[in-house]
Amino acid sequence: MDIIVCIKQIYDLGQIKVDTASKSPITEGVARKISDFDKNALEEAVRIREKHGGTVSALIGGTKEAAKEALAMGADEAVIYSADTDSLGTATILAEIIHKMKYDLILCGEASIDEFSFQIGPRLAQAIGIPVLTYARKIELNDGEIVVERGLENRYELTKAELPALVTVTKEINEPRIPTLLQILGASKKKITEISPPKPEAGIETLSITAIEMNRKEIILKDTEELAKVILSASK
């Protein structure tokens, strides 16, 4: 089972500060990390490999630092590319890279936690023409088929498709491992390939990014009775 995991490196969102004058985000010096659900995808890929054998390749929009972490978490190899584009552009780049690779399964996080747009998985599957099973909370593989339990608003769906397929995973699917010292040291010899694909056309242009103004009353009450009154009027 050869698995490709698509990973996005994002800013550590809690560290982003706001420029007081322009209200725009200050990202300089902010640490970066692998987006949360992409770690679930990688963890799931590693678990599948541990059970079924094969390889796990991490395709990372980000830096060598993220690649090292992915390798320490268990990926066999990492490819890093620069992803300064939108979802259309990123899916196009990924499709291009994956086109040259051998794979049975592609795993993505259901969304990145900075953008939360849920687009890359469905777009990529559409671009390369394979089945897509979104919002997976459980994956089982047998005989060239994949069975996925999907979590939707008010129901779970057990769905099936033939391989190769693309699955986007939710955070419920597993608890990603935190790499240990031995895993970190063991990963130092694994291969990291850096590629610079031509910049694809984007579908969206961002005109501005500004901080949300917080408009809350911030009234500190003295006693519980007052609090109860507020609760009663607010819950009407």
Partner: protein
């Protein structure tokens, strides 16, 4: 000269921080209040591979060097600034390393895998009621009787006594083996304490770092197998000094970890908290304290990592003489607890009355760090004696 950590070390720090934020930080208040590290925290640390991190892989450790061990110590103390969890970890990292270096193969195979699995605790028992730092005056004895070794005496202010008697474990123990000789008559042995005839223990109520117990061990005609002798007969003093040199940089790392976390919390608070119409951070009197705290913390940190680096150089490249190591280690252990204590105290004061509450979560740091000013792995004045001796020469030693 290069002050940067390697990529692997940076990634390891990130990993440990994530681990500690998930598994230790949520329990930090509970650890202090209940006076116990929950068993699952110990198990989690074991499965994350940081218990006995310096112990070789063949015994379930990671064979980590001291820089790596110090990184983990700093991060653990950030998550639990009471120091309890850091102490549990660092005692094993320091003395586990020594046990591996000088213990018999049979003892290591028998004992170390359970330490790295978190099943048993491994500590150090050196201090006695008559005094702690003057190890040459130790009166607990060990004699050979046939195939066995017999230990008699008592040890006090020992970390992890309740843990070791409850869950299993034992101590690298400093014992007198030749009465006629002073420090050259000392040996080191491994002393198990759980369900051992002749062992009784006492637990002390302490000022802080309550998550790991401190107590006394009374040893009456305790028989141990001969393979529990650590290293050569009558060479124990040198092993013990080496062990302290390994553990002390980690102690110092724990102090700066706790202080670093407190300082971060303090800075956040100063920027938020308003007084007389502007944030506290705008007051110069406060700002200067912040600057001083940072500079002191950085200097302590440099001493810690330099000492750890020197140890690694000594063990892997045979660089540096003991004399130089002694000075570097003692300097780190002299400076870090004091600096940490001062910083946490300042941060508490910035917080005003809130700082004095348990809810603020800071006072346990002050109480914890204090343990390393009063004693534990060598009191502050002993560090000065060591530095004095190495600087001025043995002939000027006051003893």
């Amino acid at each position: 000269m290069d002050f940067s950590f390697t990529e692997e070390q940076e990634l390891f720090r990130k990993s440990v921080r994530e681990f500690c934020e998930k598994k230790i930080a949520p329990k930090a208040n509970e650890i202090d209040e209940k006076g116990e590290i929950p068993r699952e925290v110990v198990e989690d640390m074991a499965s994350f591979g940081i218990l006995g991190i310096t112990i070789p892989q063949e015994y379930g450790g990671s064979g980590a060097d001291f820089i790596t061990a110090a990184i983990a110590t700093e991060e653990i103390a950030r998550a639990d600034i009471s120091m309890a969890t850091a102490v549990y970890y660092l005692v094993e990292a320091g003395w586990g390393f020594l046990m591996d270096r000088y213990g018999s193969k049979k003892a290591k195979e028998e004992l170390l895998p359970d330490v790295t699995k978190g099943k048993t605790f491994l500590g150090i028992a050196s201090t006695e009621a008559a005094g702690g730092s003057d190890v040459a005056a130790i009166s607990t004895t060990m004699t050979k009787e046939g195939e066995k070794l017999v230990v008699n005496g008592s040890k006090t202010f020992i970390s992890g006594v309740r843990e070791a008697t409850k869950y299993g474990g034992g101590y690298v123990t400093v014992v007198k083996t030749s009465q006629e000789l002073a420090h050259k008559g000392l040996s080191l042995c491994y002393l198990p304490v759980k369900d051992i005839p002749g062992i009784t223990t006492n637990i002390f109520k302490q000022m802080g770092r309550e998550g790991i117990s401190t107590g006394a061990i009374i040893i009456k005609n305790v028989e141990i197998p001969s393979h529990y002798l650590i290293g050569d007969w009558n060479k124990g003093f040198y092993y013990a000094m080496e062990g302290f040199n390994c553990a002390r940089p980690l102690v110092a790392a724990a102090c700066i970890g706790a202080a670093g976390k407190a300082l971060e919390a303090g800075i956040e608070y100063l920027k938020e908290r308003q007084a007389f119409g502007s944030p506290l951070a705008k007051f110069e009197g406060i700002q200067f304290q912040v600057a001083e705290a940072y500079a002191k913390l950085e200097s302590a940190r440099l001493l810690v990592y330099k000492a750890a680096w020197m140890l690694d150089q000594m063990y892997t490249k045979k660089r540096f003489r003991h004399k130089e190591i002694n000075k570097a280690v003692a300097s780190a252990k002299l400076i870090a607890p004091t600096v940490a204590f001062d910083i946490i105290k300042d941060v508490l004061i910035w917080h005003g009355a809130y700082g004095y509450t348990k809810e603020a979560g800071l006072e346990k740091g002050l109480r914890g760090v204090a343990s390393y000013i009063m004693g534990a792995e060598g009191a502050q004045n002993i560090m000065k004696l060591i530095i004095g001796r190495e600087l001025l020469g043995k002939e000027f030693a006051p003893y």
